[in-house]
Symmetry: C2
């Protein structure tokens, strides 16, 4: 870990050179904030992005992937209240128009911006067109709301929430010289890869597109890609990293990697803690695997297993389900070498039950499931949650 | 379909040459029936079996796989109240002893039987040793209970239930000349492959091991392997097919295939209808796929998706989740060619929402999700259920 300090009270505007805003544009029927803007004042505009691997990609993902090929982003506009996914060519035109209207509003405001410099993110229900009259009116309004300082970032983080109960921000200050800050929204449809829906990370470090891309991919691989709430992967997942260079400091790749990782890791922990219906925060750690890929595959299979997740909801140390799930992972295991512990208490040793296994106390909110495969020395951890009545309730009537 | 009649009032003893029994041996703490026996009186003893692909296999699976290599089975003894999985070498010894004690009891009863002719199946909680004193006492008792006629089969079907709410039997009478009958228990941990936990199918047709094996693999591929309640695969899944040859009729392979399929298909439908927490019986059918494997992979991915399943529980026609799940299937799809209907009503046409999609009525207990990929002419269907409060409730405190 590089020298520095992580705080959760700041987000995308913690880094110099960034302004943020969040408003209620009327996209959401309930009148809550639903339009966010992150604006890079420079002097640099380098950027990198990672997007959903779902083959069904929302219009804003298709658009932003094109924008990111230039390696340059001046603004990110994000809306909640509608995913603009599965909306066909008209939906893509809506995204394109959003970028054009924002670019025009920013240019009118005195900062010459092209549509191709504007990334767009959307989140909400799949399948409906956005109310473009409200979006367009909101774009003009939000440009006038752009504020320096922390509050703009907090407003933006609020405006991207859907079923999130709290906004998620984190900022890492490196020796008081340069900063990486970020915001995220998650709640449901959290799975690799990416685990999150929308994340914007900013930095005032001096870094080019390749450095940012490397730092972002390293961080997402170890954080958002290892968060798996329900095995469902969104059509809209987007993680962006923007650099203004405003600090004038050019960190080493290792320093940049560490700072971006610190922010993404903290945001991933916040996403887990606020996942839909969560009553348990669960870490599934696989150790002594033949390879990191194997460890990850086993951890993912266990973390996704509905029977494991319902048992954890019930604080039931039903370790047999962990064994059964492990046996279905797409890697070769040796059942007689598997040792499992819950919160440090062995429940299964070399494939058979340990004394006292049925009495392990899992009543707390944090549970660590540790699986030792006894086959090598690689390890990996997946963050997940339990499968609760709250999850069922929240997801049983989302569109209706 | 071959000429014949399917009935649900009969099971493993519908075929001539088979006796069955079911008793309460005290394995279950609640005193319900927990020990079942299916006995083949011959003259033939041909048999085939299909077992779980889980790498963590219960002791009775390891034992019965060995028995089935001989292609000959005289008796199947099944217990509920304990899976005898993850019990190490002592657990395997318990299974071995069960087979030996049953063979001795049958030999004492006047039917010379070797332990290697006895298949063993167990179901229940993973990880605990069986109460062998009660099992052994029960084995002697159950041999004396062996009864001809239908009731012995029904008693056996009752004794293998765990969280099942009803026993499952089906028998197919081919032109009044020969019969295939079966019993099954399921309820939870239903996934490919196999979808079920324990199934015994019997026939009085004359058929050798190879014919039985072919008929059984064809049937399980199309039935139990296409039932996916929760994506969890048991350590104990076993499907056995035994032939007594008592009818003296040697059907063609096609006739045998059709009759075994009819019984397995009906048992699979019964397993779906009685799955843990089920409130909706769901068929996910994929059509116009490039291959049957592709169709199956997409149907399975959608059928396993927690967000799709919770929406169906809520009778919510949230078709966007079907698109999102389809996009994550491990096959190449074209988002712009996907057309989806719920119960025959189009909700998405060529990747975009159809008029009235949000108003489709899914309040009934049966839901068909049909996904047209527009890429070929192959099709496949997966049977699944919704994800309900009942599922969470039933699985949150199973071991404790």
């Amino acid at each position: 870990m590089t020298a520095g300090k992580l705080v959760r009270s700041q987000g995308v505007t913690a880094a110099a050179g960034f302004r943020g805003a969040g408003i209620a544009a009327g996209i959401k029927a309930n009148g809550k904030p639903d339009l966010a803007l992150v604006f890079n004042e420079g002097p640099d505009y380098a950027a990198a992005g990672v997007f959903t691997r779902n083959q069904v990609k929302a219009a804003p993902v298709l658009w932003s992937q094109q924008v990111l090929t230039t390696g340059k982003v001046r603004a990110v506009v994000l809306n909640s209240g509608g995913a603009n996914a599965c909306t066909g060519a008209p939906g893509f035109q809506d995204t394109h128009r959003t970028a054009e209207e924002l670019a025009a509003a920013l240019s009118n405001w005195g900062t010459e911006t092209g549509a191709v410099e504007v990334a767009v993110c959307s989140t909400g229900l799949i399948g409906d067109r956005l109310p473009m009259d409200k979006v367009v009116a909101g774009l003009t309004e939000i440009v006038h709301e752009l504020a320096g300082g922390i509050s703009g970032g907090s407003d933006a983080a609020q405006a991207i929430m859907t079923t999130d109960t709290v906004s998620k921000q984190a900022a890492f200050h490196h020796d008081g010289k340069w900063v990486v800050g970020g915001m995220a929204k998650g709640a449901g449809m959290l799975a690799p890869s990416l685990a999150t829906m929308l994340v914007v990370v900013t930095t005032d470090a001096v870094a080019d597109k390749a450095q940012l891309d490397s730092a972002l991919r390293n961080a997402t691989r170890l954080t958002f890609d290892r968060l798996d709430v329900d095995g469902s992967c969104s059509t809209n997942d987007t993680v962006l990293l923007l650099a203004s260079g405003a600090s004038g400091v050019a960190p080493s790749q290792d320093e940049l990697d560490a700072a971006v990782f610190a922010v993404c890791d903290d945001l991933a922990a916040q996403l887990m803690a606020d996942a839909e219906g969560v009553t348990k925060r669960v870490l599934v750690t696989v150790v002594d695997a033949a390879s990191e890929d194997d460890a990850l595959a086993v951890a993912r299979t266990v973390a996704r297993d509905s029977l494991v997740k319902t048992a954890l909801f019930g604080s039931d140390p039903n370790w047999g389900r962990v064994l059964a799930a492990t046996g279905m992972a797409p890697v070769t295991i040796d059942p007689d070498r598997i040792t499992v512990s819950f919160n440090g208490s062995p429940v299964c040793v070399n494939g058979a039950g340990a004394a006292g296994a049925r009495d392990v106390d899992l009543s707390g909110a944090d549970i660590e499931v540790r699986i030792d495969l006894g086959l090598g020395d690689s390890t990996a951890t997946i963050r997940t949650t339990d499968l609760s009545h709250g999850y069922v309730e929240e997801n049983s009537a989302y569109s209706s």
